[in-house]
Symmetry: C2
Subunit: 492 residues, 2 copies
């Protein structure tokens, strides 16, 4: 009996759902489950593929078949659009041998299945799966919950991005902010201008095809994750210069300098417009688009052409020229009826004059938050002090305890790529990303106890490892290997 | 034309097979391939599953279908046993639109397909796969080419081990040496003694089921990889003590001390025999077995029971008692007709008296190599100075330039688990493991040019990343993230 008791303690200890649902009651009863049979009469591919995926996930140690448990699925609208307005709420109820899942949309079902999957435990001794009977009512605190990845500073291949999307779904994130073009490399495909990636990428193996992009966007969609590309401009564009120097300001044509697009030239906007409307928007169906606008080397514009252009258009400063550029590319992008909002980094607000009806500001400088909100902008929150995942010394509690203004759309953790490539991105991002994700999903009052959160996060780390996600130990600096032998629950 | 030229340079630069085949000639001609059709009339599941696996691998950016290229496959004996004597040689020839693969055994076909897969390149611009026409005749330099993983110091879940097996196949390794039991944890299942893992594992989630073990062994077999388990004894066994203190020497029963099995008790050998013959050998069909015997805390035997036993049996030293123990468990293991050899760490030679007809010595102390060979033992070479992958300061050239005695069976790189768990094992092991693998496979004379090898290794690292293997940059210390933006070819 001693061993059975130990076993049960072990199992009970392991029960957590991350992020914590709005309401979650366990019935202190476990049932054996050998197989799930989904009773679903709808036609949503998203839902059907999710059943297969979660069955594989839950029964990863082989399927025993009996006992079979019926899962009844109800969805109000199974054709809801993937986007900022999607309803992700869901309800899970259970009786012995029956599970009931209901939601407003197919996206809610995905979140329900994720929660359900975390309630299963595998007992290696009797090779049996146990499900803790529970009741869940859940919905996200914020609608925008994202991760930024940066394939400009290191190329992130398709497998790496898909693995990241898989793991994002485990913590109910719903936006992959894909920072695609950078000073260092250009890997985006273009039918019209193939020279951009031919000359702008790190190597022949470090470019995306159109197929790759569509594949990733579809893969994310199946998991309820929007892909919002960022084409950073007018700065962070040096890699474009390898093939199209004609759209760059003449002040910074030296290959060793950081370049900036030239607002004084029609060619600049013509190229951008052609890329948007006849190439890239075809690949990225989301209604939102990110156009960067951060850290512009405005000194590039200190030359006779741009100074003359400024005088002609009554632009009295480089900031005015910057504002002119940003407002122009925003308008170009919004010529597409399907695009509703353009996201810009907060420099667009600080140094420019964006339109709050057209643009959303992503904040990385904490100190501008109030003025951006006061000016009537919708805001995506990702302060560098807490949510930059490349800041390895920021610990998980700093990320977890960040005060998020109630009025923002949500936020994003940012995995800037200076030292992240496919070899280490996952181990750098996790488990930090889980801390951010819970604060964005769970009701505030359920995320205030750090002791409970830490214990749950350690358990969740074990779940991540079991699913093949390289999550480093909780409580160490980012990207730090375990310091000695021990459990996945790792404690110093 | 400028862009096309750049493209071709990029492609040619990317061609390498790692490890370098014994004979490899490229015809300086590339053909487009949209699909492979395997002409194979045999019945080997190993071969058929490999076709599917490599088709997925090669056409990972979507299958275009045309042009279809025929692959003719010839195997002399497709039912060759997986083991130390298997023939892995193969020949690949190509004409435009036809590929010919032949081998002595099904295992040779696996190696051929791996080489073939590395000759394909994907052009993201025209979404086309190119194959460099080549001729290969290849066979391994050493028959035993392994990786040691340590699931005793950190639990390595099934997904992690399968990913490791996948990547081992990429460099034609053929032995997974699975160090399964340790002082720190016991995660092996047992039908007869379930308490061993119930009380010996880190947590309920950190145990293998019988299903898991069989699953891993079968997964490895499909890739031509033997799984040789190591049940380290009489030392490195403290985790057994949690449930079976009765088989431990009374000198070290304190839970804080490192324990050692007690050779003076029949119970010790009875438990081991029961585990071997009625539990574990069922799971591990390989003819070889590893029984550890390293770093024994012989002070545990300094007690009245063991001293009396030694006197009774004319054992004049703890080394003699150690030899008695080791020879006894070797004989117990060999009672199974299917077991042919027992592998022991070199302490068994230095401090004991093993039988060279029954045992194979695995060397980790470089300085005993000659005396072990002179004594007539078969040897597996894994000197800690060069091939311990947890030694992060050993760089890849140290691993690559190790002088391997011609008369050894082969060698193993050792990924000891003190600081390796599922979060970092892959990034620690790679790309170091590639260096070891090439030296074990390729003819010596093809592995002497470090400049060429480094350039090829950088290219191979890009292949690894593309396949989802977290290989850290070449040229940095082990487990080191890239230090700044750049290509997968990473160069300081």
């Amino acid at each position: 009996m001693k061993f059975i008791k130990l076993l049960i303690v072990g199992l009970v200890q392991g029960i957590t759902i991350w992020p914590e649902p709005a309401s979650f009651k366990t019935k202190n009863e476990k049932i054996k489950v050998g197989r799930l049979r989904f009773a679903y009469s709808g036609r949503s591919t998203i839902v059907k593929e999710a059943f297969l995926r979660y069955s594989d996930q839950i029964f990863s140690h082989g399927i025993t078949g009996v006992p079979r448990v019926q899962v009844y699925v109800e969805i109000e609208d199974e054709n809801s659009e993937l986007g900022s307005k999607m309803n992700e709420s869901y309800i899970v109820n259970m009786k012995t041998n029956e599970i009931f899942i209901s939601s407003k949309t197919q996206w809610g079902i995905l979140r329900a299945l994720e929660s359900l999957s975390q309630l299963f435990e595998y007992d290696a001794g009797d090779e049996t799966y146990y499900l803790t009977l529970s009741e869940i009512q859940d919905e996200p605190r914020f609608s925008h919950r994202g991760l930024l990845i940066d394939s400009g500073r290191h190329f992130l291949n398709v497998k790496t991005i898909k693995a990241m999307i898989d793991s994002m779904a485990y913590v109910k994130l719903n936006v992959l902010h894909w920072h695609l073009t950078e000073d260092q490399s250009f890997s985006m495909p273009s039918w019209q201008f193939p020279e951009l990636s031919l000359n702008g990428s790190f190597s022949a193996k470090e470019r995306y095809s159109h197929y790759d992009i569509k594949d990733i966007v579809q893969y994310a969609k199946l998991r309820g994750i929007r892909v919002i590309p960022e084409f950073d401009m007018p700065g962070h564009t040096s890699s474009w210069r390898n093939s199209h120097p004609e759209i760059f300001a003449t002040g910074c044509l030296d290959p060793d300098s950081r370049g900036a697009f030239d607002p004084a030239k029609n060619q600049t906007f013509e190229l951008i417009s052609a890329l948007f409307h006849h190439d890239w928007f075809y690949l990225f169906p989301d209604a939102w688009l990110h156009l960067g606008s951060d850290e512009v080397p405005t000194t590039c514009w200190n030359n006779s052409i741009d100074l003359a252009f400024m005088e002609l258009h009554n632009l009295s400063s480089f900031n005015n020229l910057f504002a002119y550029f940003v407002n122009s590319v925003v308008d170009i992008a919004l010529q597409d009826n399907k695009k509703q909002h353009i996201i810009l980094w907060d420099e667009a607000f600080t140094s420019g004059s964006p339109d709050p009806n057209k643009t959303i500001i992503q904040i990385w400088h904490d100190d501008v938050t109030n003025s951006v909100l006061d000016a009537g902008f919708q805001v995506i929150y990702s302060p560098s002090s807490a949510w930059y995942l490349d800041h390895l010394d920021t610990n998980w509690t700093d990320r977890y305890t960040l005060n998020i203004p109630d009025s923002v759309l949500g936020g994003e953790a940012c995995a800037w790529g200076e030292t992240m490539d496919p070899s280490d991105i996952e181990a750098t991002v996790w488990p930090s990303l889980a801390a951010v994700a819970e604060r964005l999903w769970s009701p505030l009052h359920l995320t205030l106890n750090l002791t409970t959160a830490e214990s749950r996060l350690r358990q969740f780390r074990c779940i991540l490892l079991d699913r093949g996600v390289r999550a480093e130990p909780v409580g160490l600096a980012g990207r730090t290997a375990p310091t000695g032998p021990g459990s996945c629950l790792y404690s110093d």
